[in-house]
Amino acid sequence: MEIVVSIPFIPLVIAALISFVDDKRSIPRISMFFSGLIAIISLVGTAYEFMFHKVIVGFYGTIVFDHLSSILVPYVALIGLVIRKYASNYMWDEKGYKRFFIILNFIFSSIYLMIMANNLVVMFIAWQILSLSLYFLISFRVESKDAVRFGSWAITVHRIGDFLFLLGTVLTYKVYHTLNLQELYRIWQTNIEHSTMVNAIALLFVASAMAKSAIIPFYFWLPYTSEAPTPVSALMHAGIVNAGGILLNKIAYLYLSSSIALNTAFFFGILTAIAASVVMLSKPDIKRSLGYSTVGQMGYMIMEAGIGAFSVAIYHLIVHGIFKASLFLESGNVIHLARKDPNIPKNLSYKLFSEETEENRKTIGEIVAIFTIIPIVLFTLIEFFINRVQFQFQAGIIFLAFGWLTSAQLFLSFFKVSKNTSLKTILGLIVSFVFIVLTYEFMGTTFEEYLYGPKYVEFYKAASLSMPYLLVLLGILIGVIVFGWAIIYYQSYKDASGTRFEKLRWAFYKIFSRGFFLPDLLIRYFKLL
């Protein structure tokens, strides 16, 4: 079984082999063969973990295949297989086909190494190689000024994250006298001490994760990486930005001793989730819009970790990764089709999003019922029956608030798109919603027990906020949402053109559509260099 721990090095073998190959057709073959091998080995490893619950250790105890690896390694391997297959055709006409596959394999190697590292220094090395390889891939189209510029943004932000990680590692050794993660888990579970130094370490790792996962104030690099080739975008949105969530899960037990760090993660996560979603709606560029959508999802992921639901964050990153990768790869296909045929292919999405046939206005009472009461009742019931433990902590309230927000938005967006709201459509929406929430909750709970055993309850306890703070926060959140809906309603049914309200709305629109003006500042700064 020890072969499983050699997974991080197989992509390096692929890269080395590719560098010696001159026949272009052999490059994807080599890459596919070995990545298929990785997928098989990882699945065997996962089966072993599921059956025997035994950690596989290798390379002098620096690399392990544990419960977390058994979930994430097959996921990365399968995503890797799809992306390599896709890239083998998509990148065929690009300059630097070989270079692309070599760097791609370096990225995969670093992701596996990061997931399977059993030592903070090994993880730090993987963390940096990931940043560097990402920079080379974003700047892959070297002739494009934008690609190089945005690559520089990304690497600068990641470098800040690297430094914070290094500081965290140095301080960890100073306090605990070990860098071995298995030993650290034991210490973190048994010695729960709330000292300034422990808080500093926990905060440094949170900040480092925030930089990698594009959380405010480090968000700006991600939406501007769309210059990269489509397979890179897919990989970035499906895998690389998740590194923050993976790091927090790998050192989750540290947070039993640092509520401040968890609350910080929660605060910045929630802020990013909301702000990025609003910016996303105001972006006219579809690629930037998708970038901000990922930033928002990363905000959710970090927020989940911040309320103690570490394993839900893992499930979230997997689901979001699959969804976003499919979206990017599909968009690449549509671009290819559009190059051949100027008309948009009349598929399902075209019918759904473009062919509005009937105008159907609703009263305010109906809107409240459909967008507020139905989702909240359904969500509460499902949450209560599947994950009762959460209801003993604040995590339950926060999940409910966000469940309400997202499900209501979902309903709203579907009704906005298709105004022909028959009973069949409503039922279809409700059933699919119930199915999604059920799966989400079920998988989240299963992951919790598999990854952390009964200890997962402790995380919820550690993440608890003070009650007045929580209530104020929830009050603001609900107020903002209701205000937003009121604006939508006002806009739809009243003529507001030329009023003060309209001017204010445009002022806000400008701020959001420019991404809070930070990208403009950066463009000026990088022009100076």
Binding site: G96, N119, I129, V142, L166
Partner: protein, 242 residues
């Protein structure tokens, strides 16, 4: 003797005295190496006050060099500046042997960069990082060579400088000034290396130039040397890991 070693390694930025970098290039890069030799046979200074003054002077030199590096676009000059920026690193290494390894690897990479720069100057007629662009597309072997040097200088793993630096500081229980130096070295090297990388490696190839790549043999020699250095870096890292 410790002061002599430090001066040679760049405590006093002697590049001010040299105007003709092309002519005295190799000598300028050999001097820090001599300094390293002197340092090897000498004990680190014990007097706390003198130590702090030297540390301050080295830090000042490092900052000054960093800002000077932003004023030039000449790759030959930039290759020296990497050495002088790193003189302050001496004060965060507790282990003498590790510092020697780090500084040796640094001089090797700076020398590689210098070789690339002189090649560019000779073959393309200029070593200006703004004029020589798009090397990745037009001279991929030279680009790979440059990339290796810059990744090592920019403190990125799996290259030796990053591994030796990480191995040394992780367990060294730094003081506050140590953390400050660590941060400075970390970012100064990164910004200098990536400025060159984004300008020369990438970008649209200059249409006014005739690009000519280096021979395969040169690339092999330097790849092997870089690999050897990386192995040394891994060896030092293993001491920390196991």
């Amino acid at each position: 003797m410790f002061y002599v070693a430090l001066v040679f390694m760049g405590l006093v930025p002697y590049y001010f005295a040299v105007k003709d970098f092309k002519r005295y290039g190799s000598t300028l890069l050999a001097l820090p190496f001599i300094g390293l030799g002197v340092y090897h046979f000498d004990d680190v200074i014990q007097n706390e006050l003198v130590y702090r003054i030297l540390e301050g002077a080295a830090f000042f030199t490092s900052i000054l060099t960093f800002f000077m590096s932003y004023k030039t676009k000449n790759l030959i000059k930039l290759s020296y500046y990497f050495v002088f920026v790193n003189v302050v690193a001496l004060f965060i290494f507790k282990d003498k042997w590790m510092f020697e390894l780090y500084f040796g690897s640094l001089i090797f990479s700076a020398f590689s960069l210098y070789l690339v720069a002189t090649y560019m100057d000779k073959v393309f007629g200029s070593a200006n990082i703004d004029s020589i662009t798009g090397l990745v597309l037009k001279a991929p072997k030279l680009a790979l060579f440059l990339r290796f040097s810059l990744m090592n200088l920019g403190l990125y793993p799996p290259f030796a400088n990053a591994l030796i630096m990480t191995a040394s500081i992780v367990k060294s229980h730094l003081s506050l000034d140590g953390y400050l130096i660590m941060g400075w070295v970390f970012f100064a090297n990164f910004f200098m290396a990536f400025r060159i990388m984004s300008k020369s490696l990438f970008g649209k190839p200059n249409e006014l130039l005739t690009y000519k790549d280096i021979g395969q043999a040169y690339l092999w020699v330097f790849t092997v040397l870089f690999l050897a250095l990386t192995l040394v870096g891994f060896y030092s890292l293993m001491e920390v890991l196991i």
